[in-house]
Subunit: 190 residues, 2 copies
Amino acid sequence: MARAGLTAERVVRAGAELADEIGFEQVTPSELARKLGIKTASLYSHVRNAHDLKTRIALLALEELADQASAAIAGRAGRDALRAFAHTYRDYASQHPGRFAAARFRLDADTAAASAGVRHSRMMRAILRGYDLPKLQETHAVRLLGSVFNGYVELELAGSFSHSAPSSDESWTEVLDALDSLLRNWPAPP
Amino acid sequence: MARAGLTAERVVRAGAELADEIGFEQVTPSELARKLGIKTASLYSHVRNAHDLKTRIALLALEELADQASAAIAGRAGRDALRAFAHTYRDYASQHPGRFAAARFRLDADTAAASAGVRHSRMMRAILRGYDLPKLQETHAVRLLGSVFNGYVELELAGSFSHSAPSSDESWTEVLDALDSLLRNWPAPP
DNA sequence: TAAGTTACCTAAGAGTATTAGGCAAATGTA
DNA sequence: TACATTTGCCTAATACTCTTAGGTAACTTA
């Protein structure tokens, strides 16, 4: 019997591809085994179980996304950085919808803390340094940015913006301009 | 054999409760049948299949949420309406996390168009009427609001805000103030 | 009370997740 | 080169899950 020469890493990468093809929810050991041309049981030497598989795909996606975002904001500040970061997010989601869904997979606290997820919030904080926000408002602003990026992309992926004018592209740039303006005129706390 | 006296509607309501107990993803025919004390196969006289069950729970949740939001914004305008609407969203999600997840279940286009989802965007548009937005910017603003509300609540539910100060409650009010301020000073298009 | 409806059942087929144990291909060692 | 070890993949088996088909007994209505 010829071997496929798989490793845990190759399995996870194939899982990520599969997620982009059929959706992250639909990625299961049996489906992935089919794609790889091996028996389902054979996967269990590379991955602990179905949940472990999904977790690893999520970690991969978080890492990839952080890498791309980090490259995008390098050397930029203020509005430019904000736009570059946001575009990276949206582009990644449209090119890799399954991976993006994976990045939103709910990890347990420890795994999340050790994931590339923390780089994401660090980058947002870095972007905010280009705006003159009161120190105490920074976390609020980070949470707002995270909410908008995740929320917008998810709604768009769900098709919520595709059945009415104006185009989602247009809204996206307007929304980013609005956010930029908001960050430059953040309301003073009471 | 004593009958449980179920109907499609009671089944769906039980499904919604189950979602709040164990999570929407985990709601399956077999699990629901267990909760109801009947055999799995018996569910199929009330519901077409697993997907149909989830769809109906989603529609129920959208309806409930729209009802509550509609009651909350009645008689209010501007900042008050914005806050009332937003709080309804967040409260519903924290009291009914499973139903809230259900409300985000991806419906096919026709079902979505016939769902209470359309009431949600109508309400957001109504709220925006309290602000003096350029007509063309209204849709962009609706999309921004939807993104923030969905995004924030989802991140919060995922625990993203629970492991660092300040509290999510605090961020939520700051974020809403920021949104209010943004809507009152929406940047002029180029 | 007889007829019709229907809420629930049992039975069965196909598929999935997971574990246990086996063999043969790749790899390291003498 | 020959041997031992590791390991990548297999078959087999268990215990689910979803779904369909057909039956029966409990309610409803005339």
